[in-house]
């Protein structure tokens, strides 16, 4: 693809050993005038970049934007950028819906859809994922796995555990996964995952992994769920400010790698290790609600296909779908 000038400039600045690139070097490399370069730099400033401009040395990035920057993501993820596979929007109904539209249009997978704001962020069964503007991650990754549906079951868990590992590695966080798809930090919800697949009996044709992460702000859910789950941002939970653009690049790289490992069926060993580390429900007394029953018992272990085994007086139940809450 023909990359835009802003992406090329950001990449040149990020790759320059001392961080400086002169305006004339940019003009030469992009085959445009100095005036055109100034125009692009001005647009980048409007996006939230701050630059040092020093005579004889050129420009240097002083501050990255607080909000997500398409130029930054494209500059740092060339393997996606060269296929025009990163779609960044100011506002979308839902990144999962947009990703599904792109797949239906025949776009090549994998692709990434990110919105700075969602108006109809989707949770399970049409519930809303509160998506306040600015500084959070609302994104979807879309794939065409062509795997048998039976292979798919542990996918959301695997990606959730991968995100837990990622969050712990960036530091100062102790994330825990609540089976099957919520991530808690400090006992409050910080990440939600919703996977949607389109399949027939033999093959999964399309797969969309939607993730919402409260990075810098969390919705106040007190009114929506009095006494229920509360939300927290990663900044609040870690006591520091996470830079959203580098965070997003590292997250996407991690998720794409984890997808690859899953697709190649090489995830089992790491899965087991991560599950032991991040399972919020281990040995806890829980209440599980399915479409037809309420089960009270102890969260025991995981079956290889990802079903949660709950022990109770009448024996064991393998939970494949439903809601699990901690009993108090």
């Amino acid at each position: 693809m023909k990359e835009d000038k802003a992406t090329k400039i950001i990449r040149a600045l990020l790759q320059s050993p001392k961080g400086f690139v002169t305006g004339s070097a940019m003009a030469r490399d992009l085959s445009v005038s100095r005036v055109a370069i100034w125009g692009v730099m001005e647009k980048l400033r409007e996006e939230g970049y701050e630059f040092d401009a020093i005579r004889n040395r050129g420009y240097r990035i002083r501050e990255l934007p607080h909000n997500l920057s398409a130029s930054y993501l494209n500059a740092r993820l060339p393997f996606l950028a060269e296929r025009s596979a990163i779609h960044v929007h100011d506002t979308l109904d839902s990144t999962n819906s947009e990703a599904e539209r792109l797949l239906a249009d025949g776009q090549k997978a994998p692709l990434v859809v990110i919105a700075k704001e969602q108006t109809k962020g989707r949770g399970r069964l049409g519930r809303i994922w509160e998506s306040p503007r600015e500084g959070n991650f609302y994104g979807s990754l879309a794939f065409r796995p062509r795997l048998n549906p039976s292979r798919m079951q542990p996918f959301t868990l695997w990606m959730g555990l991968t995100i837990c590992r990622f969050l712990e590695e960036i530091g100062k966080l102790k994330p825990m996964l609540k089976w099957p798809n919520d991530i808690y930090c400090n006992g409050k919800k910080a990440v939600g995952i919703l996977t949607e697949a389109r399949m027939d009996a033999d093959l999964i044709h399309e797969l969309v992994l939607g993730i919402g992460i409260n990075v810098s702000s969390a919705p106040d859910l007190t009114d929506a769920q009095p006494g229920g789950n509360q939300a927290v941002s990663l900044n609040e939970a870690s006591g520091r400010e996470i830079s959203l653009n580098p965070f997003t690049v590292a997250l996407l790289e991690t998720l794409l790698e984890a997808y690859k490992v899953f697709h190649e069926d090489r995830y089992q060993e790491a899965f087991k290790r991560l599950w032991e580390r991040y399972n919020l429900l281990q040995g806890k007394t829980v209440k599980a609600r399915t479409g037809t029953a309420v089960i009270n018992g102890i969260a025991s272990h995981l079956r290889p296909d990802g079903a949660l085994i709950i022990r109770h007086q009448a024996g064991e139940t393998a939970l494949v779908s439903g809601e699990v809450t901690l009993s108090t």
């Binding site: 079951q153 996918f155 996977t195 139940t317 779908s321």
Partner: protein, 165 residues
């Protein structure tokens, strides 16, 4: 009574295999057949009314006292005794919860008399927060919706009956 939503896992044959066996039994006029697979013994017997029972022994044969540790399962009628008609079934490709609409407030994907094609999404099966949209795979008209919204479904369980166009 607590349900085991995944009893199929312990049942070494899938519905299709049972149907094949039953067809074989019908052709050769057998009333009883016993096979062993994955260390489990399965006995299928066929009564006069065309009703079929399958019995599974959960233990390896040598560990099994005569007649002990058995469980009898009723095989859903369509697999064995459906009279000849033009219906085909859309079956669940996985264990999970069956939903007829994308959200509680929205209209159902399909209903009886709905026309569908191969790509039409007919329902969602949710398992571990993967919302699996199931496609019809055949062109035709829905004759019957066989599962109620929100119910757990098993692998291979018939969900819809369709008259192919």
């Amino acid at each position: 009574m607590v349900e085991n939503f995944n009893s199929f896992k312990f049942f070494p044959l899938d519905i299709k295999e049972v149907k094949e066996l039953v067809d074989l039994m019908k052709r050769s006029d057998l009333t009883e057949l016993e096979i062993e697979k994955e260390g489990m013994r399965v006995k299928i017997s066929r009564g006069r009314a065309g009703q079929v029972n399958a019995t599974t022994n959960f233990l390896p044969p040598e560990a099994l006292p005569q007649g002990g540790g058995q469980e009898t399962k009723q095989i859903p009628a369509p697999a064995s005794s459906a009279p000849a008609d033009d219906g085909v079934y859309i079956k669940s490709p996985m264990v999970g919860t069956f939903y007829r609409s994308p959200s509680p407030d929205s209209a159902v994907y399909v209903d009886a008399d709905s026309k569908v094609n191969e790509k039409t999404v007919v329902c969602i099966i949710e398992a571990m927060k993967v919302m699996n949209e199931i496609q019809a795979e055949v062109k035709g008209v829905i004759l019957e919706v066989l599962v109620e919204n929100g119910q757990p479904v098993e692998f291979g369980q018939p969900l819809f009956k369709i008259k192919p166009a």
